[in-house]
Structures are given as structure tokens and as C-alpha cells.
């Protein structure tokens, strides 16, 4: 196990050398996280989630309280590397917002919020697919891709998301193998 870890870190470091990441940043990602650093940003996380899955004719992420799920997963099910990436991402997003729009994310319009997330979506992606793969594996999933997938999971597994955003069939009873789609058919919440 130790041998594999050290090989991974050697590969990691040499890759980092070839990319724009600094060694400092990589080391910085291995800090232990204080749960409060997420809990104290619950409202911001809720707004970010809502930007990803907004309220439309069906409930959005905020109404479904997706932020609780996101924080649970970050605290209980996420490796410290990715916890740090997420936390650093939040901080960067706050300062980027301040710099570009001279206000907090809460005070930004929907349009500006979309622009901010577009910036972070682009930033988390490298031009070369290989870089993305290696980056995900060695450095963990980027802030934006974590935020997005946690929001989606949290929404689709939530009661509002599953029952109103999607179609939830608690006890189907039978299996109808081929039926016609109904207008505005939602996909099934569970497989």
C-alpha cells in the first residue's frame, strides 16, 4: 500500500511539474478539514446548488435543501484532498466574485451567477482529455465538478427532486416493458 502511494505521489509530482500546478498547492490539499469550514458556508453552497439546478416549473436545489446533502457528503464521504479542493474553490469563487462584480455572490443577479459558474466550469477543465483524467485521479475532482455532481446527486435523491423533479415510483408492482412516453415525461428517479 505504502509503496503504491509513494509511486503515485512521484507520478503526481512529475505531472504537476509539467502543468500549471505548483507543488505547494498539492501539499496544501492534504490538510485536515474543520467541519465548520463547510457548515459556515451552507448558505453559499445552497445558492451555488440553486444556480446549477434552479427552480423552474419544478422545485430547484435550494427548495430541496440539497446543501445539507452536499455538506454531509463532503464531511463523511470525501477524501481530504477533495475536501480541500472544494474549500479552496469556495474561497476562490468568493474572491473572484468580489473582484469581477464588486459584490458578494448573494447579491449577484442570476445572470452574473451563471457567468461566475461558467468561469469555474471552464477553469476545472483542461484542453486535453488526458490531463483531465490524470488530474482527476491524482489531484481529485475539481471544485466545480464536485459541486455539480454533488448537487445533482443531492437533488435527484431528495424527496422533492425525486418526486417532482423526476418521476418516483415507490412500489411499481408490475413491469411494463414498452410504453409510450407521455408529454413532458420525466425520467425515473431510481433504476
Amino acid at each position: 500500500m505504502n509503496r503504491r502511494t509513494s509511486i503515485k505521489s512521484i507520478l503526481g509530482l512529475s505531472f504537476i511539474g509539467a502543468s500549471s500546478f505548483s507543488v505547494y498547492k498539492w501539499i496544501n490539499c492534504h490538510h485536515t478539514i474543520d467541519p465548520d469550514s463547510f457548515l459556515s458556508r451552507k448558505e453559499l453552497i445552497a445558492e451555488l446548488a440553486e444556480t446549477i439546478i434552479p427552480s423552474t416549473d419544478t422545485p430547484g436545489a435550494k427548495e430541496a435543501k440539497v446543501e445539507n446533502y452536499i455538506i454531509n457528503i463532503l464531511l463523511n464521504c470525501t477524501a481530504s484532498v477533495e475536501q480541500n479542493l472544494f474549500l479552496n474553490g469556495l474561497t476562490e469563487l468568493e474572491s473572484y466574485t468580489e473582484r469581477q462584480f464588486q459584490r458578494t455572490f448573494f447579491n449577484c443577479s442570476v445572470n452574473d451567477r451563471n457567468k461566475i459558474l461558467e468561469y469555474f466550469e471552464q477553469r476545472g477543465v483542461y484542453k486535453y482529455t488526458l490531463f483531465n483524467k490524470v488530474s482527476n485521479r491524482l489531484l481529485g475532482k475539481s471544485f466545480f465538478s464536485q459541486l455539480k455532481s454533488l448537487t445533482i446527486d443531492g437533488y435527484c435523491l431528495s424527496q422533492l427532486g425525486a418526486t417532482r423533479g423526476l418521476a418516483y415510483d415507490y412500489i411499481p408492482g408490475n413491469y411494463a416493458a414498452c410504453i409510450s412516453l407521455t408529454p413532458n415525461q420525466k425520467s425515473w428517479a431510481t433504476k
Binding site: I53, T56, N72, N76, A162, D169, Y175, L181, W188
Partner: protein
């Protein structure tokens, strides 16, 4: 001689069954129904049907962390956490509490509780045929099976009639039809692939999976509600498990004594009587050592654990483990490989969908080496299992974007897709084995099990053919974005461990005879996966059950004749 104290009387039964999983449950039921006072030993806790299925009725939002394991889970259970999730974690062991040694990576997934892995099994039920029973003989590999399909046919009927198997008859020599409840149904994209395969010059069959999920009420259970939450335990009794079926039936006879938290440490052999007299048990909680006695002993602790128990049962007569005259005990470990396959998407049927969560997929029965195919560089064959569905939010979430349009896409039915993989035969190799470690012990003082297993050239060549052939099937059927894969999962991943105490005709080269009886210890029977002489490519549980029922019938017959 172990029967010495007064307490021995109350510790004496007609039969002892070790392990309450899919085959142990059957052994207990059959022996009880034949009037034998039977002690069923289970090393784990009791799990009562319905009452002990704590997650069975939960909604997705009732799980705090969704279906994700925690970082702590992964640390404590580095193996089991690959297969469990919060829905069914309580039906798997903790690796920390139940360690084993991997000489090479091997996933040993275990469920130590009443019902064992019958609670979480895949429920696929496929008969073997003489293509499988004759394979070793024809290829000159391993030893010949001491039985043929005709020996097992009645018992397949017998087991299927009891457990309830839904499926469709296809009249294939390599995959005999069974006693079936109405089949589940293929959806449009699966029917499309089936049509394409049938029209192809090779004429392969695609049929709905044959599963122990009830399509109508059966034995006061079911029917299946199409929730596809089977591994949580079914509150409707929609699928067969020891808990829902054989153990209650055994209990109803009044002949069953079930003892949970009973770790079988050793089978007690008596040199004078030249037979086993009982089982030494460690109470898992109190560490108290107990001895139980019986005329016959069925070992159904699961492939690796059953053999480990025999290896640990040493006597003057059997210094290398009970019944190990051949030196084969522990050897010839097999597991199916199921890492290779293909997927693709289909552009049509955009206005079609389905309702309900069918708890199974489809099967393309084996088509390779039905006779010795020319141009193939591997022996034996595989079947292909897969399923068709429309992409859901889980599949779409990787696409770029966010916001209103993304949400719309995320929550609408996506493209039709098919994912399928080959379940392939693994040859019996002497060097794939389990053994007991000389030094390291578990918390009950029993030696740790070492597993040394790897797939070899024949399996890898087969995987390559699976990739190519399954991708070709999809392309020929008009699928697009077809990709093939090989996940390269280690042995054990398919959870079809077989072998290590193989059946055979010759006591010099096998451990068990044609009735699953230890050659040299006639009152000990092994009827779980350990007995398997070859692995075929069919999911094996149905065959374990049929072998068990047959062996029980034989054992009681022999007992009544005074032969045991």
C-alpha cells in the same frame, strides 16, 4: 472419543449443518423434512425474514449520505466496501473483524448472518448441461465430474419447483429449460437486439434472465413488486432466500435448532469409528467452546470457509485436513470472470419507455465451443448478461452545462443504451488455492485463510473475445457509440467462488464422491461451491441447491440403511 460428559446428550442431534446460506438452508430444510433433528450452525447473527430488513422500505432521501460509503467504511472494509452500500452494508462482514490474506488480489465478499449471501445474491438460475459436466473429461483438464445431467435433472426440477424461478423456455441443449414461472419481459431495445441476433447467420438467442424472482405468488411469497431493491431483503418475499423460504420451512417441521453466533472451528473425527462425530464450535460472543454431535454433518459454510474448516480439522488419520488424502483440498479455486463486455446507445424508440424496475436483465446463452469451434484460441465459453434502459440522471450528469436547460435534460429520459458483459468459465488450476496461514490467527484463535488466485491465459483470451464479440453484436444491431471494456477486476469479484474440495470418481485425485460425500469420511458432505469440479459459465447457486437436495436424499437413505 469426544462424547464423554453428561452434557453431550443434549448436544446431540441427528444432523448438523454448518452455514445457513443458500445451500445450508436447503440442507437444513431437507434433513428436517426427512425427520432428522437438525442443528443449523451459523457464525453470524440471526436475520429474521422481513423483521430484520431495516432498509427495505426506505426512500432514497432516507439515506443521509445517499448511496455513498463513508471514508471510514472504506478504511475499515477495504474489500467489502467495494460491493456494499448503505442499503445493504449490514448484510456484509467487516474486513477488520474478519481478515484474510491475499497473496494476490482477491475479493472475498462475505455475509456472516443467518441466510448468508442468499440475502444479497444475484438470483440468476441456470441449469448446467452435459456440455459442462463432460468438459473436463473431453479437454483432459482437472478431473471428470462423477455426475452427468441425468443425475441432477430431477433435482433441478425439485429445487425450481420449490424456490420459484421465472424464465422462458428456449430448448437449448447447452442451457436446459427448467420449471418456470411466467418470464419477466424484455423492453424495446432488448427485443431489438434479440431480433438482430436471431436474424444474424449465427442465430444467437437472447432471452430474459431466469431469476428466483416471483412473477406470481408462490409458496405464500411474492409476487415480486419490481422495486429492484432485492439486496436489502424483500418485505414481499419476492425473491428466494434461506430467510424467506428454506429456514421457515425447516422450522415448521419442529426438527430445527438454529444456533447463530456459532463459529465452527473443527470437525471432530473419531479414529476408532472412522467417521466424524461432531463439530467443535466457538461461541462468537462469549468465546465459549462447545461440542455438538451428530450422525451426519453437512458443511455449507461457503466455498472457501468450508474448505478452511476441513483444513483446520486435523487428526492422526488426517494430518493435512479432514478427508485430504488426495492433497487436493484447498486447490483448484475458481471464480467466473465478468470484467469484459461492451455498451452502446441506440437512436430509435425515442417515444418508448418502461415502467417499473425489473430486477434482472437479459441473457445470451453460451454459443462458443458448443462443439470445438475452429479458430478460437481458448477453451470453454461464456454467456452474456446485460440490460437495456434509457439513460437517467446518473448517466447524464457528466455532460457539460448547468442551469435551466441542463436541468431539463437531466430530468428527461435519455438515450436508449445497452450494457452487457460476458460471464466466463474459469478453468480449475491446481495453483489457484486457499491455505491456512501458519502464524496469523483471527480473534477466535483460528488460522487466517490465505488466498492465492489469478486468472490465466485461457480466461484473458476469452475476455478479449467477449469484448470483440459483444461490441460486434451491438454494431450489427445498429447501435452507435459502441465501446468495449475490460475492467480487469481481480478474482472473487463475481462472487462465484468454486472448487477447493472437488468432486471426482477417484479418491486419489478428488475430495468428494458423486454424492458430495467426503471419500474417506462418509458421514461428512460438502454441497456448497467447494464441491465444484469445473466452473462452467452459468451462475452456480441453482446447481448448489440441486446438489444439496440430492445429497440429503442420499445421506438419509444411507443412514436408514445403516451405512453411515
Amino acid at each position: 472419543m469426544h462424547i464423554s460428559d453428561k452434557s453431550s446428550e443434549k448436544n446431540t442431534y441427528d444432523a448438523i449443518v454448518i452455514g445457513s446460506g443458500i445451500s445450508g438452508g436447503w440442507a437444513a430444510m431437507e434433513l428436517c423434512k426427512k425427520g432428522l433433528k437438525t442443528l443449523l450452525l451459523e457464525r453470524g447473527r440471526d436475520v429474521e425474514h422481513i423483521k430484520d430488513y431495516p432498509t427495505a422500505n426506505l426512500n432514497p432521501w432516507d439515506f443521509k449520505n445517499g448511496f455513498n460509503n463513508t471514508i471510514k467504511d472504506k478504511q475499515i472494509d477495504p474489500v467489502q466496501s467495494n460491493v456494499y452500500n448503505p442499503e445493504n452494508k449490514h448484510f456484509y462482514v467487516s474486513d477488520k473483524e474478519h481478515p484474510y490474506i491475499q497473496d494476490k488480489p482477491f475479493n472475498w465478499f462475505r455475509g456472516y448472518q443467518v441466510g448468508g449471501r442468499s440475502l444479497t445474491w444475484g438470483r440468476q438460475c441456470y441449469r448446467w448441461s452435459d456440455l459442462d459436466f463432460e468438459a473436463n473429461k473431453n479437454d483432459g483438464i482437472g478431473v471428470d465430474w462423477p455426475i452427468r445431467y441425468k443425475d441432477l435433472e430431477y433435482w433441478y426440477d425439485y429445487v425450481e419447483s420449490f424456490i420459484g424461478v421465472s424464465g422462458k423456455s428456449e430448448k437449448l441443449a447447452q442451457l436446459p429449460d427448467g420449471v418456470f414461472l411466467p418470464p419477466m419481459e424484455l423492453n424495446c431495445v432488448e427485443k431489438h437486439l434479440a431480433d438482430s441476433l436471431r436474424k444474424d447467420k449465427e442465430g444467437h438467442v437472447l432471452t430474459i434472465a431466469r431469476v428466483a424472482n416471483l412473477t406470481r405468488g408462490w409458496d405464500n411469497r411474492g409476487p415480486c413488486q419490481n422495486r429492484n431493491l432485492c439486496t436489502r431483503g424483500c418485505p414481499f418475499g419476492g425473491y428466494f432466500s434461506s430467510n424467506s423460504s428454506t429456514i421457515p420451512a425447516a422450522r415448521a417441521t419442529g426438527n430445527l435448532t438454529l444456533r447463530p453466533f456459532s463459529v465452527a472451528a473443527e470437525i471432530l473425527y473419531d479414529d476408532l469409528q472412522k467417521k466424524a462425530v461432531g463439530v467443535k464450535v466457538i461461541d462468537a460472543n462469549s468465546n465459549e467452546i462447545l461440542e455438538y454431535y451428530a450422525k451426519i454433518i453437512f458443511v455449507n459454510a461457503s466455498t472457501i470457509a468450508s474448505t478452511a474448516l476441513l483444513l483446520n480439522s486435523k487428526s492422526e488419520r488426517f494430518p493435512n485436513g479432514l478427508g485430504n488424502d488426495s492433497g487436493q483440498l484447498g486447490h483448484n479455486l475458481m471464480d467466473h470472470h465478468s470484467s469484459a463486455g461492451a455498451y452502446g446507445t441506440f437512436e430509435g424508440y425515442k417515444d418508448q419507455y418502461y415502467k417499473g424496475r425489473r430486477p434482472c436483465g437479459f441473457l445470451i446463452p453460451r454459443f462458443r465451443n458448443l462443439k470445438n469451434d475452429k479458430g478460437l484460441d481458448f477453451k470453454r465459453g461464456y454467456n452474456i448478461q446485460g440490460d437495456g434502459e434509457r439513460e437517467g440522471w446518473e448517466d447524464i450528469q457528466g455532460e457539460s452545462g448547468f442551469g435551466k436547460d441542463f436541468k431539463e435534460k437531466l430530468t428527461a429520459p435519455g438515450k436508449w443504451t445497452i450494457w452487457m458483459a460476458g460471464w466466463g468459465e474459469c478453468l480449475p488450476y491446481y495453483e489457484n488455492k486457499i491455505s491456512l496461514d501458519e502464524y496469523e490467527k483471527d480473534k477466535w484463535g483460528l488460522p487466517l485463510i490465505r488466498i492465492n488466485f489469478s486468472f490465466k491465459e485461457n480466461e484473458y483470451k476469452m475476455m478479449k473475445d467477449i469484448e470483440e464479440t459483444s461490441a460486434k453484436m451491438l454494431r450489427n444491431a445498429g447501435f452507435v457509440d459502441v465501446g468495449s471494456f475490460n475492467y480487469h477486476k481481480p478474482g472473487g469479484t463475481t462472487i462465484h467462488e468454486m472448487g477447493t474440495a472437488r468432486m471426482g470418481r477417484d479418491p486419489n485425485t478428488s475430495v468428494l464422491n458423486g454424492f458430495n460425500q467426503v471419500h474417506a469420511v462418509k458421514n461428512v458432505f460438502l454441497t456448497d461451491g467447494s464441491c465444484m469440479t469445473s466452473s462452467a459459465c452459468q451462475n452456480p447457486s441453482l446447481t448448489y441447491m440441486a446438489l444439496t437436495a440430492r445429497a440429503c436424499n442420499y445421506a438419509v437413505d444411507q443412514l436408514n440403511k445403516g451405512e453411515l
